[in-house]
């Protein structure tokens, strides 16, 4: 009892920090100086890079959860993998949308098929595929085993996407913060970016933990309702009948 109360308190602290850091991050995003060439357009870096780092961490958590599930066979690790994949996909969706707006306003195009954007699209669909795979397998154990394979393998997309700007000539610029050389960003902008990046990490923890709680309740409810066999996605959908449903 005491243990779980302590856990609740820790996560409440995470929630409070998430909101506080996000607020500070938003203020800093708009008070940091404009870039000499891009002007105010450069402010899109804060949400774009902040989200992508959190998405990478989320996908890394998916791989970690998958691996730990294979080793320990504990359902909670499978739920960690599933929850962080969902959160990661949403964060990566934000990255793509903000990136497209940034691209249109600076490059002059919403989308180009250069290496970085192509690999980002592939990565997005790989993780959408992961979520689809989870929906397609009714048996919880089979589902956990099979998605663990994809959850670990899909991690390869992160270095491929991240280093695509180094391996191939691309329209997308190289890394600023995560570059091996010293950061090529003015101090105030760097501070704002690091704040937003930190805020997004807290947001990630907060969301994944909530999603895991919901998944646990879902699993328990499902077991009560239909036993451990689960159900097939789309079971509830009725096939259209000639002459109307009976």
């Amino acid at each position: 009892m005491n243990q779980s109360q302590a856990t609740v308190r820790v996560f409440r602290g995470v929630d409070v920090l998430t909101v506080a850091l996000l607020l500070v991050g938003i203020v800093l995003s708009f008070t940091s100086p404009p870039d000499r060439i891009q002007g105010d357009l450069t402010r899109m870096i804060y949400l774009h890079v902040g989200s992508v780092v959190a998405a990478y961490v989320a996908f890394a958590l998916t791989a970690l959860g998958s691996l730990l599930y294979v080793i320990t066979r504990r359902a909670s690790f499978d739920r960690l993998a599933a929850a962080s994949a969902e959160v990661g996909v949403i964060l990566f969706g934000v990255v793509i949308v903000v990136g497209m707006i940034w691209g249109q306003t600076t490059w002059g195009s919403f989308w180009v098929w250069d290496a970085r954007l192509t690999m980002s699209a592939v990565m997005f669909f790989v993780y959408l595929g992961y979520l689809a795979l989870r929906r397609a397998i009714p048996n919880p154990e089979t589902r956990a085993n099979r998605s663990a394979v994809l959850g670990v393998v899909a991690l390869a997309m992160i270095p491929i996407t991240h280093f695509s700007v180094v391996w191939w000539n691309s329209l997308h610029q190289g890394a600023t913060i995560l570059s091996p050389a010293s950061p090529k960003i003015e101090g105030e902008m760097a501070f704002a970016l690091l704040t937003v990046m930190l805020a997004m990490q807290f947001l990630l923890v907060s969301l994944v933990r909530r999603r895991m709680q919901i998944a646990k309740l879902e699993d328990a409810a499902l077991e009560v309702a239909v036993g451990s066999d689960g159900f097939v996605a789309g079971d509830a959908v009725q096939i259209p009948q000639m002459g109307g449903a009976s």
């Binding site: 100086p33 870039d35 000499r36 504990r74 085993n145 394979v149 000539n169 003015e186 077991e223």
Partner: protein, 150 residues
Amino acid sequence: MAAKTGEEPKGETTVKRYVRFLIPAVAILGVLLAVLLTLSDSLVYFYTPTDIVSGQIEQERFRIGGEVLEGSVSTTDAGVEFTVTDGRESVGVVHTGAPQGLFQEGIGVVLEGSWDGSVFRSDTMLVKHDETYVADDGEVYDYEPVNGDQ
């Protein structure tokens, strides 16, 4: 919680379980690597002036990228003319159409068009901003020109 993982199938050992994980994992990684190696050439978004000068480009229409040389920009009736460099080689560009909003001397550009042996005739321009972010007061960290071959 333990109930959710189901009962252990009869006769399945830990080793068997790991093998069942590893075989598809290695197979998928192999396919991924094969796809990447196959796609590698077409993932290059643009060529560099060095590629043009060395005459290794076979396509009629392609993209080149590089930095707009300082002091080379002149406006024409149809568009702009300037020189693009990758730090090693430079080529002259005749661009038809209005330049992008951020177009200026010293910025990176990606142009689509064809090479007629002496100048690159482009009709599509994208501005490639680099990974350096500086304020108006000119505070600069490690500013380096965009190198096409980096």
